[in-house]
């Protein structure tokens, strides 16, 4: 297929993998326009098939009763030549456009920036500073994955602030991700002496790359198959084992026991009642497509989170998921702005929890990128939560911190009357505003992390690293003033987690305000994670 152009178009492949980060302009995978225009192509093919379906059916059944389709019309009018000419012309135009768009789509990686130039008529130029990298995502949608291509996204802060390299060869994308993370970590000075022992290792994959590119189709298929099977192509950059394993049964259970199912059941009940009450059958016809759609929803939820893995690497937490289309997201240290550990009420019997996070670089609002980047753990037990939190907050794993987390997830003032409760809780008069959850509503600060515990219907624990916090607000309305209460919120970047505390004693609110505002300044000064390897040596501490 496209193995031949790979070798031609990328002389860089013969050199060690760092060659792509030399600051020169490079081109993407030659099949890029085809893969990017995939939907367009599918639409055209679908259109053609739809127009000729009778002819196609007859091709198999052998009956010649078609008539009046476009081909007949063309044939009858004697315009065959013109039609062929037009088809040929369109094909040539498509090819030329694809070739030009591939020629003009170039990228470069220097020590400081990643830059992408693209566009045929409207040129666009995107630059991202490496010390502002919020995450590096490597996604392989199903079709490009079959062709051995992958998309590398370098997320920087802001809505839609992505620099996207789509598509690259799978192996190359892996190597480039590693190089970019190395550059971003501020490792350059430290790397120079290590270059000599590093070189044979790094050049090895590139050397394999060549034979693959020139080998027979069988080898190509084998290579594709191996890539397809392996969740992670960079075994030396990441420890092979995920710290968390989600059994498929638990995953399916967690998806089934969701609010969506409750909604479905209610809708089903309503439907049955309406049928019994004597409404005609058309209601059923109207609702049936929705039911089929919901099956699709379950299916996509499950396949998306199947094969979930989370590992610690020297360059941050790596989260991988996906069965058909895979995605692997690397979050460098200090890029997590808020963490929420929560348990919907349906999961309580099973002791399951989920973890979502806020990061500054979320590609929200774009359909091409899945918004799964905010889930750090789709479903897991208490022990899983502890492991994941250790990865997300590496300095937060002493005995006390663990007790604090457990207390925040399960505890409450009423239940742990005898045991020391580390949280500062809402007073009993908060029962007027939060009749069920007031005894769980509390906050604590430990080290440079603020914790908020709340909720009973969905038990939530929110952790905000103070070095990332953007501001703190306390407020009070008329009702809370009568009850001598206030509410508080920690401002973080946008995401699924909102760190707010709806009831808190007035004096406590003032204490919280002082603690958070001074803590934010203090932790930000002590924070060095924007180039995470510069001050600290690149230890494997995050990898356990």
């Amino acid at each position: 297929m496209n193995e031949e152009p790979v070798a031609h178009a990328r002389p860089a492949l013969t050199a060690p993998r760092t060659d792509l980060t030399d600051g020169e302009w490079h081109r993407l995978h030659p099949a890029t326009p085809l893969l990017r225009g995939g939907i367009f192509m599918v639409a055209i093919i679908g259109f053609i098939i739809a127009n000729l379906r009778e002819r196609l059916i007859d091709l198999f059944t052998g009956e010649e009763n078609y008539g009046g389709d476009p081909i007949d019309a063309i044939y009858e009018r004697g315009a065959t030549g013109w039609a062929l000419l037009i088809i040929g012309g369109v094909l040539v135009v498509i090819l030329v456009v694809f070739y030009l768009s591939w020629r003009l789509h170039t990228f470069r990686v220097t020590g400081e920036i990643v830059e992408v130039r693209s566009g045929l008529v409207f040129r666009s130029n995107r630059k991202a500073r490496l010390d502002r990298v919020q995450g590096v995502n490597l996604t392989r949608p199903l079709i490009p994955r079959l062709f051995g291509a992958a998309r590398l996204q370098i997320t920087v802060a802001g809505q839609d602030g992505n620099v996207e390299l789509a598509y690259l060869g799978s192996k190359l994308a892996d190597d480039l991700r590693r190089d970019i993370l190395h550059l971003a970590s501020g490792l350059r000075q430290a790397k120079q002496p290590a270059a000599a022992p590093d070189a044979p290792v790094t050049s090895a994959p590139a050397v394999d790359g060549m034979p693959i590119a020139h080998s027979a189709l069988g080898d190509f298929a084998t290579a594709r198959f191996n890539e397809f099977r392996a969740p992670e192509l960079d075994p030396d950059a990441a420890p092979p084992h995920s710290v968390v394993r989600i059994p498929p049964r638990r995953l399916i259970g967690s998806v089934v026991l969701s609010g969506f199912t409750v909604f479905l059941l209610l809708a089903g009940m309503g439907l049955i009642i309406s049928v019994i009450a004597g409404s005609s059958g058309w209601v059923l016809v109207a609702v049936l497509p929705g039911l089929i759609g919901s099956v699709g929803y379950y299916f996509s939820r499950i396949t998306k989170t199947l094969r979930f893995s989370i590992t610690g690497t020297p360059d941050g937490v790596r989260v991988g998921y996906g069965l058909l289309s895979t995605s692997s997201q690397t979050l460098p240290p200090g890029r997590i702005h808020a963490i929420e550990v929560s348990q919907p009420i349906l999961w309580r019997r099973f002791g399951w929890w989920q973890i979502s996070i806020n990061t500054a670089g979320q590609a929200s609002g774009r359909s091409s990128t899945p918004v799964t980047g905010t889930t750090l753990l789709p479903v897991g037990t208490l022990a899983d939560v502890e492991k994941v939190l250790q990865l997300a907050l590496p300095d937060f794993d002493t005995e006390t911190h663990r007790a604090l987390i457990e207390n925040g997830m399960l505890g409450g003032r009423k239940r742990d009357a005898g045991i020391a409760d580390f949280y500062s809780n809402a007073p009993a008069r908060a029962v007027w505003l939060r009749p069920f959850s007031w005894w769980r509503t509390g906050w604590a600060v430990s080290g440079s992390v603020a914790l908020i515990r709340r909720g009973i219907l969905s038990r939530d624990l929110i952790l905000v690293p103070l070095a990332r916090m953007q501001g703190v607000r306390i407020s009070q309305g008329a009702i809370r003033r009568r009850l001598r209460l206030a509410s508080a919120a920690l401002h973080t970047v946008a995401g699924p987690v909102t760190a707010s505390l709806s009831v808190i004693d007035v004096d406590e609110a003032l204490v919280l305000f002082e603690w958070m505002s001074t803590g934010a300044v203090r932790s930000a000064l002590a924070d060095t994670s924007h180039q995470w390897s510069r001050t600290a040596p690149p230890t494997q501490e995050a990898t356990e």
Partner: protein
């Protein structure tokens, strides 16, 4: 141990203290800087314009389409607007800001009180905007934008010169305390 030790008696006081101390009030802060008193005019004009538009619409609905509910909506909006107008000067007086060593404090509201603290280092940009009436009065609004979803701090009704010097001061402070995102 968490750094912050909860005071066990803090939440347990059964007797609410007298009304006066129920309010949120930061202690040991410095002198709050207030916004220009002229800002009242901007707020009053805004409220009146709002009331006129809504009440006018409601009246039209009532008279032309004979919708009785529109009349009631109009009356309610009018009443709320009048109450707002009465309290407007006090509300404007309640807006204040304070530059502390490392962060910017902001407060507003009487009935619904709000205090916000934003560290200077979190500044992404500062916006100065002027509405038509504010420009006529020589006022400007200053917005301190952070990376957070909820807009950081927005200080309305500063004298134009004040807004610009405050902007320069804030940029300078942020520059010396720059933190990554």
């Amino acid at each position: 141990m968490p750094d912050y030790e909860p005071n066990p008696s803090a939440g347990q006081q059964a007797e609410p203290a007298p009304e006066s101390s129920n309010r949120l009030e930061l202690v040991e802060t410095g002198e709050w800087k207030r916004v220009s008193p002229k800002y009242v005019v901007v707020e009053i004009v805004g409220t009146i314009v709002n009331a006129v538009v809504v009440c006018g619409g409601a009246t039209l609905l009532w008279l032309l389409l004979d919708q009785t509910w529109a009349l009631w909506v109009g009356i309610v909006v009018l009443a709320v607007s009048i109450i707002n107008l009465v309290f407007e000067p006090r509300r404007v007086r309640a807006i204040g800001y304070l530059l502390r060593a490392d962060d910017l404090l902001f407060r507003r509201g009487i009935l619904f009180q709000r205090f916000v603290a934003v560290p200077y280092g979190r500044m992404q940009l500062i916006d100065i905007t002027r509405g038509p009436i504010a420009r006529w009065l020589g006022l400007a609004d200053l917005k301190f934008v952070t990376a957070a979803a909820s807009a950081g701090v927005s200080i309305p009704g500063l004298a134009e010169a004040d807004a610009e010097s405050l902007r320069d001061r804030l940029v300078e402070l942020a520059e010396s305390r720059r933190a990554g995102l």
